[in-house]
Symmetry: C2
Subunit: 144 residues, 2 copies
Amino acid sequence: MQISSRFSVAVHVLSLLACQDPAALLTSDRMAGSVNTNPVVIRRILGQLKKAGLVEVRAAAGGTFLRLAPASISLLDVYRAVEVVAEGKLFHVHASPNVRCAVGRNIQAALDATLARAQTALERELARVTLAQVVVDLALPVAT
Amino acid sequence: MQISSRFSVAVHVLSLLACQDPAALLTSDRMAGSVNTNPVVIRRILGQLKKAGLVEVRAAAGGTFLRLAPASISLLDVYRAVEVVAEGKLFHVHASPNVRCAVGRNIQAALDATLARAQTALERELARVTLAQVVVDLALPVAT
DNA sequence: CTAATTGTAACTGCAATTGTTACAATAAGC
DNA sequence: GCTTATTGTAACAATTGCAGTTACAATTAG
């Protein structure tokens, strides 16, 4: 199954913040307008980004702003923040193979290292890209 | 969300076949016993592996056997066979951002290349491991 | 104090996964 | 050909997670 759109929405929201005057704030309502969804969906994600220390939220007037420079936020930070998948659990391995079978007894251990490597490879690619780079890509619509 | 256990079950099933006399057959019932699930679950997966040309199934007596040498089946082949994810669609990107916003208009394109790279990195790791290697790992329970 | 905004709970609708029962279709082996 | 084991598939249930929505108390700027 696909990785939740929480991730792409979070990157979208952080991009909105990164494109602004760093002192300016954005409300969940306005962000929801850009993402084209419900403000509560945005607020749920902002809650996770806040918990991860990426943004700060002011209740009454204004809303949210970045706590870090866009260049020091990687997509992996965002991916982890929105808990799209528990650490090391991208692949769902069937839980209770038959231990009375040599294959059943060892399949989990045999797959473990390989799947961890695959997952790490994916995360490494996300770690290489910063929010600042995403913003650059935004400003340059494909020239084709 | 997690990648379906269809994938690990498929690797399990193929491992069972690979551990056998290459001429021998296995029924979905016996495989289900090792995986610890319902035979229909196994048959559904076998159907996909068959469609991908990895196994051959004989109805009446016997069941399933490998069509290829374990060394020439990669985990990526299996991953693709069980359609755990549509080609290039591991990440679910939110579908209809607001095009009247510069970020909304370009976010999909801006993310596209990065996400494709991440996904490819994962698949490359799966491609490097063959069923034969998995079987070797099975025979060698971790020595700590 | 007021008014805007967040944080969160509760609910809906939807889709995919996994397991299950049931049964027709297939084909091996006598 | 008949019998019998087995597959292929449909249909359904239960569970889960996602995404959207309404509602409202809590917060805080001005």
